[in-house]
Symmetry: C2
Subunit: 304 residues, 2 copies
């Protein structure tokens, strides 16, 4: 439709900026009772992060909309779905940083929420961001049946057989070596489930056909895994300033990572094969999925 193609970096940055304004409007005002909680929720959510999950929602939505669909209602719904996955991601970071978990004091170069607001408030920030995500989904201007589907997708991705479950495997495995398979299960749950949910939510909200949904699922599985492999590589190859969080932390506490199990070289080989899998999965979706393909390249490219 547009005469001049928008470069990927500009498209990505525009989407990331856009979801920031959606989140800003979705989060309660900092002055509302109780102000300390609302200030902390905004601190935890706004002004940082790559917004990869939100961008995946938008890219999958773009890939799934039937041609010539009037997009206004879907655009609002995609905004709400994109904000919802970012809220769940933000809550998970706040809880992961707590002293009883990773005990991180720095996130995106800033003091973590519990350092800034105290542990009790940090706990409640996570507890409150999660239902706000479901509240947003319930407001989407799409068929109610799609709201119910979206709710189920997000709930399962966040739950004990998704993100929270992966986190539980992670924190109960410190000090022992996981097999490559155990590691894959852990990351598929801990990081992959929410990335996959982001892709599926974009598809569901945009009314994806079952063929498109299958392609999205295969794509999402590949990039979910790729994302964690890159994170593990960066943990040993990047420095704290570049990461915006404490580098080398996983190795110090003897946490299992792809690098500790496979080494850097074989981890990078795995990454390339996952990139190829992601591109293959998108083939049935045609040219509308080109942003998803670019997001896969971006995720893999974070390593360089």
């Amino acid at each position: 439709m547009s005469a001049t193609p928008v470069a990927f970096e500009d498209w990505f940055a525009a989407r990331a900026r856009h979801v920031e304004t959606v989140l800003d409007q979705a989060l309660p005002e900092a002055s509302l009772v109780p102000p300390v909680l609302h200030q902390a929720m905004r601190y935890a959510t706004l002004g940082g992060g790559k917004r990869v999950r939100a961008v995946l929602v938008y890219a999958a939505g773009e890939a799934s909309l039937p041609p010539e669909t009037p997009v206004s209602a879907q655009e609002i719904a995609l905004d709400q779905a994109a904000a919802a996955v970012e809220l769940v991601h933000a809550y998970s970071l706040v809880h992961d940083d707590l002293p009883c978990m990773d005990g991180d004091t720095l996130r995106r170069g800033q003091p973590t929420v519990h350092v800034r607001f105290g542990e009790a408030v940090a706990l409640l920030v996570g507890d409150a961001l999660q239902p706000l995500a479901f509240d947003l989904l319930s407001q989407m201007p799409v068929a109610p049946a799609l709201i119910a589907q979206a709710t189920q997708i997000l709930a399962r991705a966040a739950g004990s057989q998704g993100m929270a479950g992966g986190q539980a495997i992670d924190c109960t495995s410190v000090g022992r070596t996981l097999t490559s398979e155990e590691l894959q299960v852990m990351h598929a749950m801990k990081t992959g489930a929410m990335l996959e949910a982001s892709v599926l939510l974009g598809g569901v909200v945009a009314g994806a056909s079952s063929t498109v949904r299958q392609g999205l699922e295969d794509y999402a599985a590949a990039i979910g895994l790729a994302f964690q492999v890159v994170d593990d590589i960066l943990d040993v190859t990047a420095d704290t300033a570049t990461l915006g969080k404490t580098a080398g932390k996983d190795a110090v506490v003897d946490k299992p990572t792809y690098v500790s199990v496979l080494g850097v070289t074989r981890s990078r080989e795995l990454l390339e094969s996952l990139r190829a899998q992601a591109h293959d999965a998108l083939r049935p979706l045609g040219s509308a999925s080109h942003r998803l393909a670019e997001v896969a390249d971006f995720i893999v490219g974070r390593d360089h």
Copy 2:
């Protein structure tokens, strides 16, 4: 319809037992990966508690069903809504008991989840029980529009302007005296919001008319407040063995309570006026609401 009226105590006990079986089926098997998390989720949720919130869902559903409605689908939906509110309640207890919050070691006469499974797992138990509640709502065999409404009711009751917000006021007010009004706001959020949501969910799922919904809202506001006043009275008048949790704890840490603000006598007077308000609110609902009236009496009667 039934020839012999079922005594309130028997009706209540049967509903409490029933939601226990619903929860048992809704919670993932303890053997599923990660087993420690699923064991702890089951430990946190099953085998205890009065199930007042679940019973409110059922009683409100009974009061709201149009006469002669075939009830099979609604019964399943009420089960799922009842289990959902119990899951959110269970998660809130696990997080409230954490060392960074109340630091309780005993709950229903048993070691709290973090004492038994460690803090990290307890954190994740709460994080995983919450989305399971939304997952259950998404499965209800009712019109999808009702699922969306139910999701919004639960999300708002659990969020920063509901339960989590009330908790934040509570934990940031330790050591200073709240006014009676501040106390009322805190409790309306912390305890009232979820009790009110339980009543409304029962109504929504059963297809309550707007008149009935209004009556349910007024009823719920009164019993929500009554519930907390009773809790505060019990904290100073009952002993640890009766409570199943540490008695006198609020006074020790100088937590604001109705008793510390109003004293026991005026707290009991407030309780009686709330009971009357609850009964008045049910008048437009007629005889179908008799279980709700009995639940109000039960809540107030816990004091004796």
